[in-house]
């Protein structure tokens, strides 16, 4: 029971982090039609910027400053590359973001090396927030959760309760009309892109030290994000939210499972009153603990959902 509570909490905190990242990705996708391959690179840049700034000015100023820097970098990418490629079509924009992701990876390995850097959780957050029978939910995870919830609420309020948010919503479906009404649509695009990059940077600041800060973190996270927004339904913010929570929880649970398929089969056969069969000749993969299969889980989910519901769980129709 206590295992369930703590794993669920850990899963939700990871899921909320995933939502911080996928919110910007799915907004830029539905607003500009750009699938941003470099989105997870912003996450990585956030983590590295926070690592570098924490040494100079401490963690909390870095928490504020890094997302701003990453957001400005995103704005520069949008205005110097993506906007100029707009007339070439979405596939060209996708390729450009792939090139940007490649260069960010190169730059990060150039400056900080190939290995992980020592970006630690600040000492303020040491200790457990809740501890149930030896399973603990750390202070820092709780802090992550609070920040992510705050930001998720902020995104929701910003999009639904402010004038700028309503203009964004309108520009998603009717950019020409919004432009005719006197709004500078390219500028809206630029700031939404920068905002998404900044949110990804913030996720990097709070996620980089909870997990590992290394040059491959962008690739691993980026693939998860794509699964989140496809399974949630392309362009659907609510879908991204629920799917991020689902995937975060599933992933966290899967890595803590130590039983193997062979164990499960053994238990099932004994439950059924049958004599336990001989398990000496079972293939290697059946004897592995289920946690080894955790990396497969998101992609299996992806294939299952796409087969059963091609538009994603929250997606509407074929339009995207």
């Amino acid at each position: 029971m206590e295992w369930w509570v703590v794993t669920l909490l850990n899963g939700i905190s990871f899921g909320l982090l995933l939502f911080l990242l996928s919110a910007g990705l799915t907004l830029t996708l539905s607003l500009m039609g750009i699938l941003n391959f470099a989105h997870a690179s912003f996450y990585m840049l956030g983590a590295y910027a926070a690592f570098a700034l924490t040494e100079q000015i401490g963690f909390f100023p870095a928490l504020l400053l890094s997302p701003v820097l990453v957001g400005l970098f995103g704005a520069w990418i949008e205005s110097s590359l993506l906007r100029r490629a707009k007339h070439k079509g979405h596939v060209s924009e996708l390729m450009l973001t792939f090139g940007v992701a490649m260069l960010v990876f190169e730059g990060v390995t150039l400056v900080w090396g190939h290995g992980p850097v020592d970006y630690r959780i600040p000492p303020v957050f040491e200790g457990a927030f809740v501890s149930v029978y030896g399973h603990s939910f750390s202070n820092y995870r709780a802090f992550m959760m609070a920040i992510a919830l705050l930001m998720a609420g902020g995104i929701w309020l910003g999009l639904n309760r402010t004038r700028f948010g309503l203009v964004i919503q309108a520009a998603r479906t009717h950019p020409e009309m919004v432009s005719c009404l006197g709004h500078d649509v390219p500028r809206i695009f630029k700031w939404v892109f920068a905002g998404g990059a900044g949110l990804a940077g913030l996720a990097g600041v709070i996620g980089g030290n909870a997990f590992v800060t290394e040059p491959n973190m962008a690739m691993g996270m980026g693939n998860l994000l794509f699964v989140v927004i496809i399974v949630g339904g392309l362009g659907s913010l609510a879908g991204a939210f629920w799917c991020a929570l689902l995937l975060g929880t599933l992933q966290t649970m899967a890595v803590t499972l130590t039983v193997s398929i062979a164990d499960v089969l053994k238990n099932l056969t004994t439950l059924g009153g049958l004599s336990a069969p001989n398990f000496d000749g079972i293939p290697h993969w059946m004897a592995q603990p289920l946690s080894n299969f955790a990396p497969l889980l998101p992609y299996v989910l992806l294939v299952v959902v796409l087969t059963w519901r091609p538009q994603g769980l929250w997606g509407r129709g074929q339009a995207a």
């Binding site: 590359l81 693939n223 592995q288 294939v303």
Partner: protein
């Protein structure tokens, strides 16, 4: 010039080159280039013919490689003419395996083209990559699997022990595939594929099924990619899970785009560059993938038809001395930064030679000169261009 005449020239080049560069290293390098050409050719079927940007191409090259290594390790036929034919047929087996994998995975990937296709193939590529790690008995894990391609007592003495034997086999396969792909694009199916790329909705209204057309193209592309993967495995006699990695898929995409949309010419440029960058350029500079990334961005931004789409007239019209100066300045800055971060930190001397110029990275004057030169060149280069307000809607 018709494609057939061009093909004759390429045949001659492929026959003459190994007579000029006879060392086994350069022969192996040229074999890799042939395989690179084949990979780009298979990607062309998807991208330039079908308008599908795939990030899962390594599934099919990897499947071909594994099929060949497992085929060699069956030890069924190693002696005489049967063994010889078996080795010759193995890349074909790789292609068929890849086509079978594509037939299984392709239907959900090809439901839509464009961005969803790119994301789904990325997910599928990661699925296969992660799955290969799960089954080390079969995939060999990171340590990989190796095999021996040598045939004892073969006909004509072609035992595949020497590098040029494999070069000849690859050349035959590349020619056959190039011919097949060109023929494929001329068939009604090939025409419908291009129609689907441009106007999928109209194709659907004409009574064709765009999804099915994309699916068939996906399988054809995978078949060619599987042959390429099989030849890679025969060349190195080794395969590991690395062959399913996103880096492989990305490099297939990247070099095909850099090569450009011309079916044969683009593939040749892309394939040759692929090997030149990862094998030759990497011996000169550790920053080679930064250059590849910059080249890629430059091509996507400035040359939508790729390097093969550059006509001499275009190049002359757009030739810009300051653009070249910017490129040189950028090379200096990248090399100086790399040297500063890696060599100097390890206690090596601060001087290095870049493009026959000696630079000392511990002197501020050299840095400011390089930065100022690049900045001024970039400013002058972008000033000559038409102001880029085209993106503003």
């Amino acid at each position: 010039m018709t494609p057939t005449i061009k093909l004759r020239w390429w045949c001659m080049a492929m026959a003459v080159l190994p007579l000029v560069f006879t060392s086994s290293y350069s022969t192996s390098l040229m074999t890799q280039m042939l395989v690179g050409i084949l990979i780009c050719l298979s990607y062309q079927v998807l991208l330039s013919q079908g308008g599908m940007l795939s990030f899962g191409h390594a599934i099919f090259t990897g499947a071909g490689s594994y099929a060949v290594i497992h085929g060699l390790n069956t030890h069924l036929f190693e002696i005489g003419a049967t063994g010889w034919l078996w080795v010759i047929a193995l890349p074909l087996l790789g292609g068929l395996t890849a086509a079978a994998v594509a037939a299984m995975l392709g239907w959900i990937a090809t439901a839509r083209s464009g961005t969803p296709f790119a994301m789904i193939t990325l997910g599928l590529g990661e699925l296969v990559w992660a799955a290969a790690w799960m089954f080390p008995d079969w995939s060999g894990g990171e340590a990989g699997l190796s095999a021996d391609r040598t045939v004892t007592d073969p006909p004509f003495g072609m035992s595949f022990a020497q590098a040029w034997h494999l070069y000849a086999l690859s050349a035959v396969y590349v020619l056959a595939c190039a011919w097949a792909v060109v023929r494929f694009t001329q068939t009604p199916m090939g025409l419908m594929l291009r129609a689907t790329r441009d106007r999928a909705v109209r194709v659907a209204f004409l009574g064709y099924n765009p999804h099915l057309i994309r699916y068939i193209a996906f399988i054809v592309s995978a078949f060619i990619a599987g042959i390429a993967g099989g030849l890679t495995a025969l060349n190195f006699e080794f395969v590991s899970v690395d062959s399913f990695s996103l880096q492989r898929s990305g490099s297939a995409m990247l070099f095909t785009v850099v090569g450009g949309g011309a079916l044969i010419g683009g593939s040749i440029i892309g394939g040759v560059l692929m090997v030149t960058a990862s094998v030759v350029l990497s011996t000169f500079t550790p920053a080679w993938s930064a250059y590849v990334g910059l080249l890629f961005i430059w091509v996507v931004m400035r040359w939508p038809n790729g390097l093969s789409g550059m006509t001499p007239r275009d190049v002359l019209a757009r030739a810009n001395g300051w653009g070249l100066a910017t490129a040189i300045g950028t090379i200096f800055l990248i090399e100086m930064t790399y040297h500063w971060v890696t060599a100097v930190a390890a206690g090596m001397p601060a001087t290095l030679d870049i493009l026959m110029v000696s630079v000392n990275v511990s002197q501020a004057s050299h840095w400011s000169l390089a930065i100022a030169f690049t900045a001024v060149a970039y400013w002058l280069a972008s000033r000559g261009r038409t102001p880029s307000r085209e993106g503003r809607s």
